[in-house]
Each structure stands twice: as C-alpha cells, then as structure tokens.
C-alpha cells in the first residue's frame, strides 16, 4: 500500500475529522508560541476596560451615572449620535442589589433588564443582534428536534 493510500485512508474516516483538525490547531498554536516575542499588547485600546473591585457592577461597570452622559470612546463617534447616554441603566431591583451588596455584576447576566450596555447598544448594536440571533437559531433547532416526533 502506497503512502498516498495510507494517508487517504486516515483522511476519509469521518471519526478522525476532529483529530485532524486538532493537529491543524496545534500546528498554528505552535507557530503562535514561536512568534510570541514579536507580539505585544497595545496600550491604546479602543474599548478600554478597567476592573474596579469596589464597584457592585464589576466587571460590567462602564462608569457614569444612570440617565447621565458618560465618557465613552468609539471608533466612529459620528455614527453614534447618542454616544455616552444611558451608560448603565439598572432596573429598580438591580439598583436595590447594587446598593446592598457587592455582587450585582455577577448576577447581571442572569436576570432580565439588569443592564443595558451603552457600548453594545450605541456603537456595536449589530453585534448584540447577531449574538441573540445565534441563540434563537440554537433554540429553534433544539425545539424542532424535541417536537418532531409529535403527532399533529
């Protein structure tokens, strides 16, 4: 059996698919580690992030008072006319949590209306829409598969 036959025998088995791909990823990561000295962190970040351990909204705290304007950086400010408004809008319940505990930030993702992030809604709104669309698609598939054996 020639070497070509041997290689194609490995490649044509779909159970090896993830293994072959992992080899590819490992190869790229080795290149990445080898070129690590050439890569440096850029201090001048467009979306700066500082974690304030004292804030109850940590790590989601973008600064600014609710209903007031805050300093927010954007790549193209001319496209976001309401830049900086509604930096952190909290529902009354979330406001209550943030006044009384230090852990509102850890629960924000788990209850609705916790925080409306200005960066997401004004400057990167399209991302928010796609993220939720991906979730919806996943739910639609799961729902269809769950109910497909039901009789009408």
């Amino acid at each position: 059996m020639s070497i070509i036959r041997k290689v194609s025998k490995i490649l044509q088995n779909q159970n090896n698919l993830v293994r072959v791909y992992s080899l590819l990823v490992i190869f790229v990561i080795i290149i990445g580690i080898a070129t690590l000295p050439l890569i440096s962190y850029n201090e001048n970040q467009l979306y700066p992030k500082s974690v304030d351990m004292k804030s109850p909204l940590n790590p989601y705290d973008r600064g600014g008072e609710p209903f007031e304007k805050a300093e927010v950086k954007a790549q193209y400010p001319e496209n976001s006319r309401y830049l900086g408004y509604v930096t952190a809008y909290l529902t009354p319940f979330s406001l209550f949590i943030s006044y009384n505990t230090l852990y509102a930030g850890t629960t924000i993702v788990s209850h609705p209306g916790g925080i409306i992030d200005e960066i997401l809604y004004n400057t990167r709104g399209l991302d928010t829409i796609i993220e939720t669309s991906i979730l919806f698609i996943a739910f639609a598939i799961a729902m269809f598969l769950f109910r497909r054996n039901e009789k009408e």
Binding site: N13, Q14, N16, Y21, T35, Y76, I141
Partner: protein, 222 residues
Amino acid sequence: MYELENINIEGQVVTFIPFGDIVGYLTPYTAILFIFAAVFTIIALISKPEKQVDIAFGGDAYYTKNVSVKQMRFQRFMAAACGLATMGGVLSGDVFNFTLFTAMVGITNIGIVASIKNRHILDNAYEYGILAMVGTLPLFAGAAIIVATTGTLSMWILFTPLVTVPLVAKLLLVIGVLAEGMAPVYVAKAEITRAPGAPFILMVHVSSLVLFLRVIEIVISM
C-alpha cells in the same frame, strides 16, 4: 467618507453602510459574493425540494423520497437564516462582527440537516457539529489577539499599512472559518450532501465557500 487605503487587492469601495462602530462595505469583489449569496437564498426560498430517487437493491424497483411539508418549512427557515448570515458576513467591516456571523453560519448549517431522519447523515452531522464548536476557539481567539495587539477591530483601520496584525491571528481566523464552514477534510460534509432537500443543502456550501472567500480577502488585506 470611508476609503480603503490599499485598492490593489479588491478595488475601490462601492458603497458602505454604517452601524455605529461597525461600518460594512462592498467592493466589486464582495459585491459579487453578496449578489451570489442573495441569488441562492432566493432560490432556496422559492424552489421546492427535489425527490431523491433511490434504487432498491436486488431488483429493478426504485422509489422516490418525499420531503414532508413540516420538514421542508424548517429546512427553508434555516436556509434563509444561513443566507442572511452569509450576506452579513460578506458585508461586515468589523472583525468581531465577521466572526459572529461565521459562528451563526456554523449553527445554521447543522440546523439545515438536523431535521433529516437518516442515521448515516446524522452521524456525520454530529461530527461536523463538534468540529464547528471546536472551530469557534481559534475563530474568536484570532479576533481577541487582533484587538489586543492593535487596539481596534475596525477593518478600515486594520487594512491600513500602519497597523501590523500578527501572523498567528490571521492563521487562527482562517482555520476558524475552515472549521465552521468546510472542515479540513470535508469528509463529514460530503456525506451530509446525501440528505434530501437540494436547494437547502446547497446553502450549506454557498455559505461556507463564500465566507472562505471573504476571510481570504480579510487576511490578505490585513
């Protein structure tokens, strides 16, 4: 207002669409991809699935497989979502936005074949789905390394010669799209092609190949 600095690769910007910080654009190259994806999405929406002919072995008989209306509706919905995600990925002018659209294509591709009751196809769809999930790691890692080393995600800035994007980030992006769309060896995807519902199955290929074309353009330009 927005201009690509290097027009040697794909020509001048024809039009742009600003969504806040995400400014999508079309050049002659991406416009062709966009039109192609749009045409095939429309075909998937308006055409009925084919009836696959199968031969019963051991005799002269053959029979046709019919796609049920319920299954066709779901496949059509997924094909439309897949087409929209593809068009979004082609239009996008932001690296993170592009990776999100790519991840969405990976999920809808599984959705298109998920409704088929055929063990062989589902086995392969499972392997392919695992790969699509594994592929999100290099995909988003690539975008993360780009934002860490350059401080921005906008392609308008990244395509200028002043900004250097590390090689590893480019490679990670490419192999991420490979896994979401076409897989290194394509074997599972080739078996998925056996599923009935040709106009919808075709969207699996349209989305992955068009996004591969787009990522090549992004990587060369960066």
